[in-house]
């Protein structure tokens, strides 16, 4: 009597998914039949697939479809959110003045140093420049579309401003956590953040989300969850 091996899993799955035909199927079937545990596992795979095969073909109702399209219709610099309760989330606005942009942070390593993707064209900075005001809003608030794409690792002023924002959040974390990229951040750090917020800043043309930890902060593209920048903590 044959015992089950790791490679049998592939065979069992291939048979259950009906990926084998002809000789291949006969050979695989014989191999699986010779192993009682394999036979049991094949039955499990088939039972699960049969059950999943009964899934109804659901779709949006006409009302839901209309809501979705209405919600996706842009208004000047703003988007609707579907869930009304989200609007109740209090906005935490941290305004960072122009002054912070005139200093440099040469001691900070850039994203290039730590392997984060780099922005290659500074021209990707947004069309709304030279506005230097950045705002942080709590997880659910609306976002504007005026952002630059990619990392700002080569922009010392941007890094300084982001580090300042992170320090403020470390000192006074908001109650709400950001919606996006939590899984990705956890994969990167295996840590729960002190705070996480959607950030609206002229430095990014994409919506970004910042996860703040004790000794660093990570900024992700909120849509794709690509890591944009790593911001080391600085003394407040």
């Amino acid at each position: 009597m044959k015992t089950m091996h790791e490679h049998d899993i592939d065979l069992i799955a291939a048979i259950a998914e009906q990926r084998l035909t002809g000789e291949e199927l006969i050979r695989a079937g014989a191999e699986v039949s010779a192993c009682p545990e394999c036979t049991k596992r094949l039955a499990e795979q088939r039972a699960a697939r049969a059950f999943l095969g009964t899934a109804p073909d659901v779709g949006l109702t006409s009302i839901e479809r209309a809501r979705l399209h209405r919600a996706m219709r842009p208004r000047p610099s703003r988007w609707y959110r579907l869930v009304p309760s989200l609007a109740a989330a209090a906005a935490i606005v941290v305004a960072v003045g122009l002054a912070t942009r005139n200093t440099t942070m040469e001691s900070l390593p850039t994203a290039k140093d730590i392997g984060a993707p780099l922005q290659t064209e500074q021209s990707q900075r947004n069309a709304f420049e030279p506005s230097a005001e950045s705002t942080i809003t709590a997880a659910a608030s609306s976002t504007t579309l005026a952002f630059a794409a990619g990392s700002v690792a080569e922009d010392a002023a941007a890094l300084e401003e982001l580090a300042t924002i992170a320090s403020q959040l470390r000192a006074d974390p908001p109650d709400e956590m950001a919606d996006a990229c939590g899984t990705k951040a956890f994969e990167q750090t295996s840590l729960d953040p002190v705070a996480s917020v959607d950030i609206e800043t002229s430095y990014y043309t994409v919506p970004a989300v910042m996860f703040v930890y004790q000794d660093s902060a990570l900024v992700f593209d909120a849509g794709t969850c690509d890591l944009l920048d790593t911001i080391p903590a600085v003394e407040p």
């Binding site: 899993i9 592939d10 069992i12 799955a13 259950a16 998914e17 596992r41 039955a43 499990e44 795979q45 039972a47 699960a48 697939r49 059950f51 999943l52 095969g53 009964t54 899934a55 109804p56 073909d57 659901v58 779709g59 949006l60 839901e64 479809r65 809501r67 979705l68 399209h69 919600a71 996706m72 842009p74 988007w79 959110r81 579907l82 869930v83 579309l145 794409a149 956590m177 919606d179 996006a180 990229c181 939590g182 899984t183 990705k184 956890f186 994409v206 919506p207 593209d221 849509g223 794709t224 969850c225």
Partner: protein, 189 residues
């Protein structure tokens, strides 16, 4: 029919109607995936909106290496993971993980109403990483490579996740009598 790629190009050139057309083509599939990942229509609506918002904002970064539908699946899966993670964080009463052995006392009450869980209930019993794989492969009918692309993992990982997901599902279903067994028990009662 105009291809997705051409519609996306037209949208990026400023044609808003092309975006509407792209949404109309893919919104049901994305909503269905989100519904099966999240288990609630309201959450699925929210995740679907977030997915298309990403298309609106990030469409210009779509490389065209995969099909647009695959790229949308990937965004939707990431969005659903974020929703689930947020939901877990907000739970105040921990829900035990894993599959419990049948509880006959509870089972009696359950039998009087229904003999088999619905798909959404059963999917909720499967850890989300396995759930995504079996939804894409066994319900949506994606190929292994397309599912691997959508899940951003190697094909081997998709195979392993679908296998383990089905095993867990079969064990979960094993906790419920099949309709025929249920009928037989009633006949003997």
């Amino acid at each position: 029919m105009v291809s997705d790629d051409k519609l996306l190009s037209a949208f990026l050139d400023g044609d808003a109607a092309s975006f509407d057309e792209l949404m109309s083509r893919h919104e049901d599939a994305i909503f269905r995936l989100c519904l099966r990942m999240l288990g609630s229509r309201e959450d699925a609506m929210d995740a679907t909106q977030d997915t298309f918002l990403t298309l609106y904002r990030k469409g210009k970064q779509f490389s065209g290496k995969s099909k647009l539908s695959t790229w949308l699946y990937r965004v939707a899966i990431n969005t659903c993971h974020d929703h689930l993670r947020r939901r877990k964080r907000r739970q105040t009463v921990p829900i035990p993980e894993g599959i419990d052995p049948p509880d006959t006392a509870v089972q009696d009450a359950f039998d009087s109403v229904e003999v088999r869980p619905d798909i959404l209930t059963a999917l909720k019993a499967i850890p989300e990483e396995f759930r995504g794989a079996i939804v894409l492969i066994d319900i949506e009918g994606l190929s292994l490579d397309t599912a691997a692309d959508a899940l951003s993992v190697p094909i081997g990982t998709v195979k392993s996740r679908t296998y383990r997901g089905r095993r867990l599902l079969a064990e979960y279903l094993g906790n419920f009598p099949s309709p025929s067994e249920h009928q037989r028990d009633e006949d003997h009662a």
